[in-house]
């Protein structure tokens, strides 16, 4: 049972590259925190600093309120699961699992009992005598997990442990890891680039971009109230539709002009985006998720249907709207120079829409988002 705290944690490489400019993050006792972000965002660097495999350039790292900056990985009492599993190829499965205990000179009978217990838990009993080279990908992954859990460490660190599995096994193992973590109650930090993994597994999810924490919140909060354009577009599949719009105030209501069309926010919808009142006459980024289109809603937009994708449980409709797309890029916010952009609506699979139709989509104004075009920050109640 432990906590992990990072105070202004920094990583600078010798060539001057700043992978992590300063990260403040806390993981509570028993919590499953997922660190997610596009490749190269520094998430693995953070994990490796926590593991002690990478030197810390500045700031503090505390495990159980003890500063561990100067400690080697072996002194931190952590267990790590690597992307490639990193099993010891010269040892059997049993030896792989027992390796850390052997180093700690654990009593032999106790060790055998623990190995048997873990093997039973992970269904590895039949392969205990095999070498890693003779195992399937899924089995190797479970051995790597076994090696981590057998030790009862203070912290679990996992570096994309599912990325080498095929899609079906990944979904299954994802659930198994979640269950296992809840059962063992060990504080866990999990790194992935896959936002679905992040959303399904984490108690909280920390979204990282270029070493900077964009938002750390529960999956629901992250999805419903993203604090900036980057999080809004990174989390969720299909990605949030974001186009440029213009704010105009009319009494208590707020009008959002998207191309030639106007969406009126009134009542609770206007109150939710109260901050827009400071933007009268200015351009902003208007965001809406695919499922907030074409369902309940008061406002209407007219669009041309370009493509219809039938997914069984839903119908993804790609439509053209006359407003430039806005997206978060590394250096901030980019507004497309095309006059039109594609938005995706997720409709009922029985909807009769066809390619080439011009349709009216209802807009759930209570689920709309607005972002500043300069900073990318969310505009909310303020």
């Amino acid at each position: 049972m432990s906590t992990l705290r990072m105070n202004n944690l920094q990583k600078r490489y010798d060539n001057g590259f700043e992978a992590v400019p300063g990260l403040d993050l806390e993981i509570h006792d028993g919590e499953f925190l997922v660190l997610v972000g596009p490749s190269g965002c520094g998430k693995s660097t953070v994990l490796r600093m926590v593991a002690g495999l990478e030197d810390i350039s500045g700031g503090e790292l505390l495990i159980d309120e003890v500063v561990v900056n100067g400690m080697g990985p072996q002194q931190r009492d952590i267990a790590m699961v690597f992307q490639s599993y990193a099993l010891y190829p010269n040892m059997t499965v049993a030896d792989n699992i027992a390796f850390a205990m052997k180093l700690r000179k654990t009593d032999k009978t106790e060790m055998a009992a623990k190995v048997a217990e873990v093997a039973d838990l992970l269904e590895l009993t039949a392969v205990l005598d095999r070498k890693p080279g003779q195992l399937s990908g899924g089995q190797r992954q479970r051995v790597a997990m076994g090696r981590a859990i057998v030790r009862n460490p203070k912290l679990f660190l996992m570096d994309e442990p599912l990325s080498n599995l095929d899609a079906k096994l990944r979904v299954q193992t994802r659930a198994e890891i979640s269950k296992l973590q809840r059962r063992l109650g060990v504080t866990t930090m999990y790194v992935t680039h896959d936002q679905i993994e992040a959303m399904t597994m984490g108690d909280r999810v920390a979204v990282l971009r270029r070493g900077v924490l964009m938002q750390c919140a529960s999956p629901t909060d992250l999805y419903e109230t993203p604090q900036n354009l980057f999080v809004a577009q990174f989390i969720g599949s299909p990605s949030m539709n974001v186009v440029r719009g213009t704010v105009s105030l009319s009494g208590d209501d707020i009008d959002l002009k998207v191309g030639a069309q106007s969406i009126r926010l009134s009542g609770e919808a206007a109150a939710r985006l109260q901050g827009l009142r400071a933007y009268d006459g200015r351009d902003i980024a208007v965001g809406i998720r695919s499922e907030a289109l074409g369902g309940d809603g008061t406002a209407i937009v007219e669009v041309n249907v370009d493509l219809v994708e039938m997914l069984g449980s839903e119908l993804l409709v790609h439509c053209t709207v006359e407003a430039p797309a806005v997206r978060a890029i590394d250096s901030g916010v980019e507004i497309s120079d095309q006059r039109e952009s594609t938005i995706v609506a997720s409709l009922d699979p029985r909807h009769p829409v066809k390619v080439g139709d011009r349709v009216q989509l209802t807009v759930d104004t209570l689920r709309m988002h607005a972002f500043d075009l300069e900073t990318g920050d969310a505009i909310g109640r303020q």
């Binding site: 990985p73 267990a79 990193a86 010891y88």
Partner: protein, 304 residues
């Protein structure tokens, strides 16, 4: 009605080595390889035949004339070699001297080089890369240039007298063999997956444990092939032993071989048998470890 289907030409992605192997296993290729092997073996075969011919025949006719009278063989040359003495010391003790020199002189540098290769690959310290370049650079220094400085050092007060004799030869061979050994082993050990080493560190292993429990077992092919190299080199060495060995009682077989010709220039028929006597052990070593040898030569060059 006919339809023409334009298929894209198949892209040949066969690696060069496979192509060569395929060509060599065709009948003409096979014949060519056999021919090459035979040509290569002719001198050795000539030597082998000569070693069984009587002294008079060796000195008057070529070895190929043996085929005309194949029954004319003798073991005299071999018994001559085995009975040969240098300064009252029998040939057999020279054989044991060679064994005594070659085994430690093969093991010592490889053990040290393995430690060094691990450090160069997986331990962070200041000046690591510079030091490695310097050591690799030492490979270009000819051994002969170091003989006199090293001899002076061994003769100086800094060097304990107790080490003189065979120990000096071990040390000299270790010194001369080290740069290549470190270079080859660093390439192999450095290419082990870094995550495995890191996993061991997270599991609580020290550098020594990682080296002993993980790196050494995984490096067996590289170590074995390097051991063969070094062993063969030391076994066949004359110069280093002659320079550093001191008295004749520490000298290896090669010295005795030279002595046979040197003192009795007209008895060179003994040399043919002597050559085979000295070759036996390296042949056994090579044949028994050749699978490592081939694998070791490729060490680090290809994955898997």
């Amino acid at each position: 009605m006919t339809a023409t289907i334009n298929e894209a030409p198949p892209v040949d992605v066969t690696p060069l080595a496979t192509k060569v192997a395929r060509k060599a296993s065709s009948p003409t290729g096979r014949a060519f390889v056999w021919l090459l092997a035979a040509l290569w073996t002719v001198p050795t075969m000539g030597l082998l035949i000569s070693s069984f011919r009587p002294e008079k025949d060796i000195k008057t006719t070529g070895w190929w004339t043996w085929f005309t009278e194949p029954t004319n063989v003798t073991l005299d040359n071999y018994s001559g070699v085995l009975k040969h003495q240098v300064g009252g010391i029998p040939f057999s003790s020279f054989f044991w001297n060679t064994v005594r020199i070659a085994i430690p002189a093969a093991i010592i540098p490889i053990v040290i080089a393995a430690f060094a290769a691990y450090a160069f690959s997986w331990m962070k310290f200041k000046g690591r890369d510079v030091l490695f370049v310097v050591i690799v650079g030492l490979m270009v220094v000819p051994l002969q240039m170091c003989l006199i400085p090293l001899l002076k050092f061994f003769g100086s007060n800094f060097f304990p007298d107790a080490f003189e004799g065979t120990t000096t030869i071990w040390i000299a061979h270790a010194i001369f063999g080290m740069p290549l050994a470190i270079f080859l082993l660093k390439n192999f050990i450095g290419s082990l997956p870094s995550e495995v080493i890191e996993a061991a560190r997270v599991d609580g292993a020290t550098h020594l444990t990682i080296f002993m429990k993980i790196v050494l077992p995984l490096s067996v092919p590289a170590l074995a092939s390097l051991a063969i190299f070094q062993f063969l080199w030391v076994w066949n060495d004359l110069l280093v032993a002659k320079v550093f060995g001191g008295g004749v009682e520490n000298q290896p077989m090669t010295v005795a071989l030279v002595d046979m010709v040197g003192n009795k220039g007209n008895e060179w028929q003994l040399l043919t048998a002597g050559a085979f006597v000295t070759m036996i052990v390296p042949l056994i070593v090579f044949l028994s470890l050749q699978r490592f040898f081939v694998r070791g030569l490729l060490a680090g060059s290809v994955k898997g």
